[in-house]
């Protein structure tokens, strides 16, 4: 019995990581209706940047975040202003194709620079540290990851609904033309949204890289988990995205508990079930 409870709890904690994968996707889809196929590869890119930074400077991966976050945010802003804004329009196909191409480019550049060897961020003692709660052993890193996910979602939620920047995001999301009439330059607003999403991606990449080994090809899988978390939770609802990540994580660990080969399958089945029963996700914000 305790093993099942353990699987459940581990799944919830894993869901925090998936929510971090998904938060950036959710944010940029919400603001500019852009589906970023390269999102998973950008997470992997952030992990590699974390690797280079921490190895080169000899610092802990968490400390490397201080560099990786602004670098990813700046990259996101430049990418949005320089490339992605040009693809946005009434047709949804161009951004899909361009971000798909971007995904291929990132994977190959990473392959060229870092080779296909699996890498891992050296987190030190925190990777294996755990503490006991009622007969369960909770890893410090998974608990920390979940805590960070909750904090990130809460921060994004606050930013969205209580700041001028968030007001601008919502206005541009509602009606780009009219938002422009209010003095908002949508190209800049989109750039800020992507920068913010990439800052979250940096956090997700570092936590991913400390939890498991990574190689240039794993971006696609992270993208799928992120998508599934967003869809399960309901588009445009950040707390729903956290719930979606948790449901996905729990399904995976419970599936793995039944049979280790079922881990991924169980997650996808849970996703398909939600999609079949509630096509708009569990907590959709937008009614249309």
């Amino acid at each position: 019995m305790i093993e099942w409870v353990n699987a459940l709890v581990q799944g919830i904690l894993l869901g925090g990581l998936y929510a971090l994968f998904a938060a950036g996707l959710s944010l940029i889809f919400g603001v500019m209706r852009l589906v970023n196929i390269a999102h998973g590869d950008l997470i992997v890119l952030a992990a590699y940047l974390g690797l280079s930074t921490s190895v080169t400077l000899g610092i802990h991966p968490f400390l490397a975040l201080l560099i990786v976050m602004p670098v990813m945010a700046g990259l996101g802003y430049a990418l949005q202003r320089g490339v992605l804004n040009l693809t946005l329009g009434p047709d949804i196909l161009p951004p899909l194709l361009v971000t798909f191409g971007l995904s291929v480019i990132i994977q190959n550049v990473l392959l060229e620079v870092y080779t296909a060897d699996p890498q891992k961020l050296a987190g030190g003692a925190i990777e294996t540290a755990s503490f006991a709660v009622g007969g369960l052993a909770l890893g410090v890193l998974p608990v920390l990851t979940f805590g960070v996910a909750v904090a990130v979602i809460a921060g994004l939620q606050y930013m969205f609904y209580h700041t001028g920047l968030g007001r601008g995001f919502r206005a541009v999301s509602d009606n780009q033309d009219i938002a422009q009439l209010m003095g908002l330059n949508k190209a800049h607003v989109f750039g800020l949204a992507m920068a913010l999403a990439m800052a979250v991606v940096a956090i997700a990449g570092i936590l991913l890289g400390m939890r498991t080994s990574f190689d240039p090809a794993i971006g696609g899988g992270r993208l799928i988990f992120g998508f599934e978390a967003v869809i399960i939770g309901g588009l445009g609802n950040l707390w729903g995205t956290l719930a979606g990540g948790v449901i996905l994580g729990v399904a995976q660990t419970l599936g793995a508990k039944i049979d280790p080969g079922w881990q991924q399958l169980a997650g996808h089945v849970a996703f398909l079930l939600v999609l079949a029963v509630r096509p708009n996700g569990l907590f959709p914000r937008v009614a249309h």
């Binding site: 001028g164 007001r167 601008g168 919502r170 206005a171 999301s173 509602d174 009606n175 033309d177 009219i178 938002a179 422009q180 009439l181 209010m182 003095g183 908002l184 330059n185 949508k186």
Partner: protein, 241 residues
């Protein structure tokens, strides 16, 4: 046309064309608006009135010199740049932001940060009902209240030129009357206004000059006091009365 003497115009359009893709919606529009003037623009559906508003406000790009605001070419500027210069548009169909509260809509209007008499307090004083409902989503307002919020949102930027597109479309007559009653209070600060209106008698009552558009061209320009019904009919429908 253009023979009426006036001071240095705040807005002047010269040979302004506008296109939606391959479709040309406006042909060589010439228009001059003096500071403090209230201009009415009338015309049938599809005559190009809304296109003209989109061109002036920067939502549709034009050649730079085709539109000048206070002598400065603005035809190529983006809408947010035009807004910062002091032109505000109350769009057709109100178009409040549905995910923002009433007060957030108004605050966003003030984002350009131009100084002037208009503030949240001033807007609430003119439309007290908005203050009562300030925390509601803008979608919870009635049509008339939405129009008040849309007007307040435009005023919040303290514009020098305000454009009203179809100010009374879809509103109850009593609401239309109250909005027109509030107009002098808005424009009393020396603000210049262009009012696009289907209701010709309303348009003529508040304006000093009227332009009529027909199939993307100016078909009439007159001082409101001089214009006759027959002239309007001819300009509106393109037939001799």
């Amino acid at each position: 046309m253009g023979s009426i003497p006036m001071p240095e115009p705040i807005l002047s359009l010269s040979a302004l064309d506008a296109h939606y893709g391959d479709f040309q919606a406006l042909y060589g529009i010439d228009m001059h608006v003096a500071p403090g003037e209230v201009i009415a623009i009338i015309g049938a559906n599809g005559a190009g009135k809304t296109t003209l508003m989109r061109s002036i406000s920067g939502l549709l790009p034009n050649a730079a010199e085709q539109a000048r605001f206070k002598g400065r070419p603005i035809g190529r500027l983006r809408a947010d740049q035009v807004a910062c210069l002091g032109i505000a548009l109350v769009p057709e169909g109100r178009q409040l932001f549905p995910s923002l509260s009433v007060e957030e809509n108004l605050r966003l209007g003030g984002k350009v940060g131009r100084p002037g008499p208009w503030s949240l307090a001033a807007v609430y004083q003119m439309f007290p009902v908005l203050k009562q409902r300030r925390h509601l989503p803008s979608t919870a307002l009635s049509g008339g209240q939405q129009q008040m919020a849309a007007i307040g949102r435009a005023l919040m930027s303290n514009p020098e030129l305000i454009l009203f597109d179809e100010i009374s479309l879809g509103l109850a007559p009593v609401i239309i009357k109250s909005i027109y009653d509030a107009l002098p209070g808005m424009l009393g600060h020396g603000m210049t206004a262009i009012i696009v209106e289907q209701d010709i008698s309303k348009a003529l009552a508040v304006s000093s000059r009227v332009y009529c558009l027909q199939e993307g061209r100016v078909s009439l320009e007159r001082a409101t006091d001089d214009v006759t019904r027959d002239e309007i009919t001819a300009a509106y429908f393109g037939v001799d009365a």
